[in-house]
């Protein structure tokens, strides 16, 4: 269930040092996403999360993702 999301994130963050998706409930709609990427370096948290939301815009829009938790870090 996490593979399509993994693909979207890998496309958006090809240089990620860490990229993980966890199905929190096993139901395929509550996810924890963890991304460590140099793209986040120097960005406020709001903008870091916005990049993740943008990458997952479609599954967020169509209801595939019911609940999303995001943890982001730069690599500096």
């Amino acid at each position: 269930m996490t593979e399509p999301l993994q693909t979207l994130l890998e496309r958006a963050f090809p240089d990620a040092a860490e990229l993980r998706i966890e199905d929190r409930t096993g139901g395929g709609d509550h996810f924890q996403v963890t991304v460590h990427s140099p793209r986040f370096n120097g960005l406020p948290l709001l903008e870091q999360h916005r990049l993740v939301n943008d990458a997952l815009a479609e599954p967020l829009q169509n209801g595939t993702i019911h609940e999303l938790r995001i943890t982001t870090r730069g690599t500096e």
Partner: protein, 120 residues
């Protein structure tokens, strides 16, 4: 529809701390809304809550205004702070209290108690 958007905009602009959530502080309907609420409470924020569940249009209009796709959404003095993860992380580092003090003044904790306002 535009009336609804104006009401949402009004809450964002006029309330010191606006929390758009699923349910109300008395009856929270979502884990992330609960996390955001608890982080704001721990920081002593004067929360004005809006329940987005009564009408799907509330969420649509809110996200169109804020450019943020998920619920909850927290605003301080009209500025989008983020969702549950961001608010929790800012609360953990003390940055949330700093932000509240900088935006609302050092006596923000005594501003007033939690309230719920309807839109639509």
């Amino acid at each position: 529809m535009s009336n609804l958007r104006e009401q949402i905009q009004g809450v964002i602009e006029n309330e010191p701390v606006a929390l758009f959530m699923k349910g109300t502080p008395q009856f929270v309907m979502c884990g992330n809304s609960e996390r955001a609420l608890q982080a704001l409470r721990a920081a002593g924020a004067p929360v004005t809550a809006v329940d987005i569940l009564p009408d799907p249009a509330i969420r649509q209009e809110l996200s169109a205004l804020s450019g943020w796709p998920t619920i909850p959404q927290v605003f301080v003095k009209g500025e989008l702070i983020g969702g549950a993860d961001i608010v929790e992380e800012l609360a953990a580092t003390g940055a949330l209290e700093e932000k509240l003090e900088a935006s609302l003044g050092s006596d923000y904790r005594s501003a007033r108690s939690e309230q719920v306002v309807p839109v639509a």
